[in-house]
């Protein structure tokens, strides 16, 4: 057994050293200009400062890090090989196992999500961070329709998020609409923008699509910055009303003739009431989004999106109107982005163009891709990771974005297909359980 296991190429210690030495050399070359040398401001002029000690530490770290990494990788590979050899599970079994694990994970996560504010009812930071995670989950699910299912690379998704947010901000501050009145309208406006973007770029493919969507996102942002009369320009829009609990405001004191949430339920006022309410609100919105998208996926339109991703020409040959399919994907993705935007505006109470930069689009896209294209649970996992890494990083202050970038690269290199790459068919001829039972019976 072990002879077979070790049959694959394994490095000799000398090779390992040489390999690590090479990495250390590269580290040295890369480190000289940025770590070894630095410029400092001396009375209005620059002077070069050397930090060769730091450079030496860096090179040593590269050397030992590489040794450790290689060793760990070899160990892992050996183990995996051994496992593969002993395991007799078929692909179907494994798929079923994966599916069960994902389902289980989903239910656990749902339970955790519902219970979270109960355990952290006085911890504003945790509830608020969880709310941020859920906003990204919702955005991820929306973009998943466009990128993960329909396979249309969209680098300007933040535009729809912005449209939703500004639509709610304007409707509420200018016309006094409530959150619930504005939500569907803002979603519809965002969907309209989705179609507006979709039309001119129907013919474009792949990376051309990417740059045009990126441009669209920038256009929306530049307009928001400059059209001061509409959007408040760089000042943004402030004092956006918060959603109320069936007409009960979350405030210390109620306006004339109205009651507050705390007053109505006879509670002492606490700012946490609103935070927790907002959390449950986005949880409900996100769950609705999930149900909506999962159902759509199992409908003709969802299968058409996936087919479009797989092969556009074959779609045409099957008599499918690819124009409508693309536009519906853009419209639905945009609408969900718009909903998330409405919630964002309601939660922040203040929006400005700075929240809707390209980086935001890139992060949402990263959530979809890191999660595993088209996988709903993958989005949850990736959104959680991408929000929490920088939050944890706050303890590392200025290193946090460095870690964030590094994590993006590492996760991608580790799992190029995304964290959860398994695709569950939208329908089966024979349900899995009966298929399994049939086989067991045959044994």
């Amino acid at each position: 057994m072990s002879a077979i296991v070790f049959a694959h190429h394994s490095m000799t210690p000398a090779e390992r050293l040489r390999d690590a030495g090479w990495v250390a050399f590269v580290g040295l070359v890369l480190g000289i200009p940025l770590i070894g040398l630095t410029t400092v401001d001396v009375g209005g002029r620059l002077a070069v400062d050397t930090r060769f000690g730091l450079l030496a530490v860096f090179v040593a770290a590269a050397f030992s890090g590489r040794l450790a990494l290689r060793w760990a990788l070899d160990r892992l590979r050996t183990r995996k090989l051994a496992r593969d050899r002993t395991s007799t599970a078929t692909a179907a079994d494994r798929a079923r196992g994966a599916q069960r694990a994902v389902n289980l994970l989903g239910w656990i996560a749902l339970g955790a999500a519902v219970a979270l504010p109960i355990f952290y009812s006085d911890n504003r930071y945790v509830v608020d961070t969880a709310t941020t995670v859920l906003i990204y989950v919702m955005l991820g699910w929306g973009l998943n329709v466009v990128v993960g299912l329909a396979g249309l690379l969209d680098l300007g998704y933040v535009a729809f998020y912005a449209v939703g947010a500004y639509a709610y901000a304007l409707l509420s501050t200018q016309f006094g609409w409530s959150f619930w009145e504005a939500l569907p309208v803002a979603g519809a406006i965002a969907a309209g923008f989705g179609i507006l973007l979709g039309y001119p770029i129907l013919r474009l493919r792949g990376d051309y699509l990417a740059i045009v969507t990126l441009g669209f996102g920038e256009i929306i942002r530049v307009i928001l910055v400059n059209w001061t009369e509409l959007s408040g320009g760089p000042n943004g829009i402030g004092s956006i009303p918060r959603p109320s609990f069936f007409g009960l405001e979350f405030a210390r004191r109620a306006p004339e003739g109205e009651q507050t949430f705390a007053g109505f339920f006879g509670l002492e006022f606490s700012a946490m009431h609103r935070i927790i309410f907002l959390y449950y609100l986005i949880l409900v919105l996100a769950l609705l989004t999930h149900v909506f998208v999962s159902r759509l996926r199992k409908l003709p339109v969802g299968r058409a999106w996936e087919a479009l991703r797989e092969d556009e020409i074959a779609c045409k040959a099957m008599g499918m109107n690819t124009t409508h399919i693309k536009l519906s994907a853009f419209a639905i993705g945009a609408m969900l982005g718009g909903f998330a935007g409405v919630f964002f505006a309601a939660r922040q109470g203040f929006i400005s163009p700075e929240s809707f930069t390209f980086t935001e689009s890139a992060i949402i896209l990263a959530i979809v891709v890191l999660g595993g294209m088209g996988s709903q649970m993958g989005v949850v996992l990736a959104a959680t990771l991408l929000v929490l890494i920088p939050e944890f990083g706050r303890n590392f202050a200025e290193y946090r974005m460095l870690l964030f970038g590094m994590a993006m690269v590492l996760i991608m290199v580790w799992k190029p297909g995304g964290l959860l790459a398994h695709r569950e068919p939208t329908l089966r001829l024979k349900p899995l359980d009966t298929a399994a039972r049939g086989r067991e019976g045959a044994r």
């Binding site: 656990i108 952290y120 911890n123 700075e354």
Partner: protein, 364 residues
């Protein structure tokens, strides 16, 4: 759907937040990373020095101060996140944030959590929203713009003046106020332009200014762009005087613009470094190889403000502290501080400065 991960995360964070309660915790927040990180750097250096000094004097109400640093990268969303973190760490006082667009959303979080804040954000909106927990130790853009605009109208009468901004909340607000003040004095800007901050090429703007025969440019925005514009103007053979706002105090301007920086004038509160009472602190900073420029002394003063208000109130309870701050008058390195009902500094007084050979001084 969510997060087994988050659950574990929460436990970790929860334990963290309880670990820091031993001392009185105060915080600063601003752009420690990102495009404006150098301002965050100034704030941190100032605050660290102040905390060290206060603790050396025995702390506040017998307790040592502990500093928390929040990084919002000037992103409103991160600012709210930072604010929540700070609320969890049970801070009693916040100096920040720096960008107005971060201060505004974050202040609502602090307000709900009953945390006092002293900010240097200059956007009028910061104190115009009726929040009782926010105090501004810096002037407002509208005051600043008025001083700059009137100065231009008087000192450069008969010359062609362009008003330019960088489309940031701060820059546009300031530029609008300058233009308004100029017009009030009967001077119409020859050009009203905007640029995109973060770009490097302003030769288009420079050529346009040259074409219009502009000699003076009033600028709302940050110093980096001014340095670039000046360099490019020089290359295009255009003599340009710039009038800017408080951001021009950054000595990066001089390093970046070179000798052309001598053409930069700006408005700022009376120089705290010139405050004779501040001399020992200034010396101390210089000894630590920190030039106490820009926001360094403001951060120092903010901590002093807290120290004195807490001592006066005899407690760090919100209500008592708020009352002490609003009613009191405090001697800090940036001079005497007292606040009006909105929380704006009374008599902020802007002065026009001019860079001269790497130093700035009052313009004649």
């Amino acid at each position: 759907m969510k997060k087994t991960l988050l659950a574990t995360a929460c436990f970790a964070l929860g334990s963290l937040s309880t670990a820091v309660l031993a001392d009185l915790t105060v915080a600063i927040a601003g752009p420690m990373t990102g495009q404006y990180a150098s301002a965050g750097d100034q704030i941190r250096k100032g605050a660290e020095m102040a905390i060290a000094d206060i603790n050396a004097r025995g702390g506040v109400l017998g307790e040592k101060l502990k500093l928390e640093v929040g990084d919002d990268a000037c992103d409103p969303k991160q600012a709210v996140s930072v604010a929540n973190t700070m609320v969890n760490r049970k801070i009693v006082f916040m100096h920040g944030h720096w960008c107005s667009s971060s201060t505004i959303p974050a202040s609502e979080v602090y307000n709900e959590a009953d945390i006092l804040m002293a900010t240097v954000s200059t956007n009028p909106q910061v104190t115009e929203r009726g929040l009782d927990n926010i105090f501004r130790i810096m002037g407002r853009d509208d005051q600043q713009g008025m001083v700059a605009g009137s100065y231009i109208a008087e000192a450069f009468a008969g010359k062609k003046v362009a008003v330019v901004d960088d489309k940031s909340a701060y820059g546009k607000g300031l530029a609008d106020e300058i233009a308004k003040a100029m017009e009030a004095k009967g001077m119409k800007p020859t050009l009203r332009e905007a640029i995109t901050a973060g770009e490097r090429d302003y030769s288009g703007l420079v050529t346009r200014l040259k074409q219009a025969g502009v000699e003076v440019m009033a600028y709302g925005g940050y110093h980096t762009e001014v340095a670039l514009i000046l360099r490019q103007a020089q290359q295009a053979g255009l003599q340009l005087t710039v009038m800017g706002g408080d951001t021009m105090t950054n000595s990066e301007l001089v390093t970046a613009a070179g000798p052309a920086a001598d053409n930069v004038m700006f408005t700022f509160s009376p120089d705290p470094r010139k405050n004779p009472d501040a001399a020992p602190v200034v010396e101390k900073f210089r000894a630590a190889k920190v030039e106490p420029e820009g926001y360094v002394l403001y951060a120092y003063a903010a901590m002093q403000l807290f120290e004195q208000a807490a001592t006066a109130a005899g407690s760090v309870d919100y209500a008592a502290l708020e009352k002490a701050m609003r009613g009191g008058s405090f001697d800090t390195v940036i001079g005497n501080l007292a606040f009006d009902a909105k929380g704006d500094q009374q008599a902020p007084g802007f002065v026009v400065y001019r860079w001269q050979g790497g130093q700035y001084d009052y313009a004649q």
